[in-house]
Symmetry: C2
Subunit: 322 residues, 2 copies
């Protein structure tokens, strides 16, 4: 299209850095990826990041308005920094925005990956139709992004939206963050797999065990989903329980913010309709009367490209704001 | 003062309607009260409300800019309505703003009492120094108000801020609202008294029992506070526990909104320093690393007049916004 503008979206994940040129109507027109090499430390990650950006900017076809970056961990969008991302040895606080701006001399925005995904859903996904919603990403970690009146709510330094660290039980499971009962400690990938491994000892007839050839090291959310699709009762129960835990946390978001719309993204959201139904039922059951008949729970629309489109959307979103 | 402006603040409580003329610098220059007569139904409450306003407007000395009303229960500040307030038989949805505007022909704003208290603290209390804070009121119910970037956050219809209905235990005590583990179900007056009554069976040496002459019907938060001031160990434990429960709920507010400042109001906040310390310690222990060293927990400053000053502040606040 003649009036399309373009931005470069960069999704810094634990395994790969994904990059894509995204149009202002939310389409990826070119994409690539390279390994994050996070175990080699911050300098190597930054070097990979620059390499990736250089390679994609070499494709001269699209003039970009800027570079949007989504990253896991503690990101200050205001300062442009990423602090202590998971599993990168030696990384304390790194000002990625400054580094990339100096190298490429374009406008650069960064946000945590869940906030970027929320902005992506607001501009290009199922969030288009709602002025306020909470997005939750279910993956290794459980992240969140809050859209309030068509704006991302970032808090004082940009760290708001940590839905994964809503405690649903003050006496509950210990979370990596040090607190007890965070919803991440029930439905974050590792925690979930851990729980299921133990429970399988009492569910020896579950199809999950057949699918992994009785080797629980092969257990993944995808396997649980496959068993559920083959109508395995225990797998169904697991998905319902995940929905219940997530629903408990989102009920708190609902009551606190009078929030009625929730978008579910991330890998575990592949549990699909049964997960969505369980989340919705739990929220409706738990929230105050005024909210009961207004609750929407929706599957995120951007799926696999959420990271790159979300990151690029930071550019279009921020240029609208300014 | 020459340039002072004035507003009428009206606090509709369960027992009394309190009214006061409040200056734009937050001072009450005249006040009065009359019984709510809530058991006689909505018409009687409205009639008392009009009577109170008439009597105070009869004092011609002050020209008022408008009438601000704070009310318990489900208030839509946008529609001007109060829905199903606690313990008023026959009250469904009543548009108080419309009724009072028509009768007195002045500008009228309404909000729930916790939101009004939060605005009051922002304009005239300890909240003056913070651009964002969460206020929690500890009384019969547990209410809340969220100030985000110097504005009250009301949600879609004005029902946001229900801190009392943050669940701290999805398997916990049943709350009046129907959900389990709401913090109100642990520290709301009736619930708290209920818990203490039962626990006193195992604390027969507590000074609380002396103070109430062994008649547990006389048990109130004030008595617990008296016993604590006389260094009663069990009473101290109760206050610490109240702080712990409140702190658990506020940790969720902190993580979700990157909120670092909390103001504690309402009757139970008379527990004072030991309560504040316990809340603060619990929050610091539970929140994400980025927040741990930034947590402020403060006692509300407006105390007994919080209702009337908060209600009047709706007028000064809204006239600034418009």
């Amino acid at each position: 299209m003649k009036n399309e503008k373009y931005a470069l979206g960069v999704d810094i994940g634990g395994t790969n850095i994904k990059l894509g040129i995204v149009s202002s109507s939310g389409k990826i027109v070119f994409k690539t990826m390279l390994p994050t090499n996070r175990r080699d430390g911050p300098d190597e990650v930054i070097s990979q990041l620059k390499k990736g950006i250089k390679s994609i900017l070499g494709k001269k076809k699209y003039k970009i308005k800027g570079i949007g970056i989504g990253a896991a961990g503690s990101v200050s969008s205001k300062d442009g920094t990423v602090s202590n991302p998971p599993n990168v040895p030696g990384w304390k606080v790194v000002n990625i925005v400054k580094i990339i701006k100096e190298e490429f001399n374009v406008s650069v925005f960064i946000d945590n990956d869940a906030n970027a995904a929320a902005i992506g859903e607001m501009l290009y996904g199922v969030g288009k139709n709602y002025s306020s919603f909470a997005l939750i990403t279910l993956g290794t970690g459980v992240g969140g992004g809050l859209i309030l009146n068509n704006k991302i709510f970032q808090g004082i330094t940009g760290a708001a939206g940590e839905i994964g660290h809503i405690s649903i039980d003050h006496n509950g499971r210990k979370c990596n963050c040090g607190a007890h009962g965070c919803v991440e400690a029930y439905v974050g990938n590792h925690y979930l797999i851990d729980i299921v491994k133990k429970e399988l000892l009492d569910h020896k007839d579950s199809k999950i065990l057949e699918l992994i050839n009785y080797n629980t090291d092969l257990l993944t959310p995808i396997i649980i989903n496959q068993a559920s699709e083959a109508d395995d009762k225990y797998a169904n129960d697991v998905i319902e329980k995940v929905g219940y835990y997530v629903g408990c946390a989102l009920s708190t978001v609902a009551n606190l913010l009078e929030m009625d719309t929730f978008i579910i993204g991330g890998g575990v959201s592949a549990f699909g309709r049964p997960l969505i139904d369980s989340i919705k039922m739990t929220i409706k059951k738990n929230v105050l009367k005024i909210l009961k008949n207004r609750i929407n729970v929706l599957q995120a629309q951007l799926k696999n490209d959420a990271g790159v489109i979300g990151a690029a959307s930071l550019i279009f979103y921020n240029s609208k704001l300014n």
